[in-house]
Symmetry: C2
Subunit: 140 residues, 2 copies
Amino acid sequence: MSAGHMAVTTGPAPGPEPEPVVSCAPPHDDCGIRDVLDRLGDKWSVLVVVELASGVRRFKELQRAVDGISQRMLTLTVRRLERDGLVSRTVYPTVPTQVEYELTELGHSLTHLIKALAGWSLDHRAAIAGARRAWDEAAG
Amino acid sequence: MSAGHMAVTTGPAPGPEPEPVVSCAPPHDDCGIRDVLDRLGDKWSVLVVVELASGVRRFKELQRAVDGISQRMLTLTVRRLERDGLVSRTVYPTVPTQVEYELTELGHSLTHLIKALAGWSLDHRAAIAGARRAWDEAAG
DNA sequence: CAGAATCCACAACGATACTG
DNA sequence: CAGTATCGTTGTGGATTCTG
């Protein structure tokens, strides 16, 4: 920590243990993480999955539940989730068309991940908020 | 499953158990997940964190390691990570400026999450790829 | 080396209108 | 009800140039 003010350019650092963390194919295959992150990272997918985790939902029900989402984005989101095999779509040939969305097994398994994510967020949201505040007031 | 072709509009569904998954404040506070996802969801943050998980890195080292990332994006990514308290930045007053980046404790704790993410990705990447292939060839 | 600044291309998203 | 189609806005990322 106290490096003083001198720092040789050839300081290879005594590196304790280089943990692998992901260890896929070099240089950076990133495994299939990008695929998952593409779905997790967009604005609505997580919220839709969370809502569907509680059970089967119709299109309109989903839209009401997520609130803030437009028909367009709900359609796109649910289509991508379906394409990735996370959500199943069932159409009923009723007079006003009726469609039901449901998590597949794969989708439910993703639920565990989201839970872990939510847990970490809750555990550290204060720390993150504090760090941001400190940063912003230090040099905003 | 076999609903045949009849489906009354008033089908409340026998819903087994509505799992909460996140259970924050209604309607959809999404806890602090969005904050984490904003950092996890962008194109480079995860890769940078993964690289830093192996130890201290200089700017150029990071750029070489991540490969594909531009100076601009590396700067932005590392700044955001620093703002969120996930990465610490140390400047050495040498002739050619030298800067070292390192994960903070908070950053290291995020590593566990990324590990979980990578694990899930590896476990299901085949399933996802298969679902996409099926979808694309069914109606691309 | 480490970055700030500028410009530009494109993708994501939102609002609106229309259809089966 | 459950979408599709179109348009305009915004945000994100890449390439390039310049500085301490």
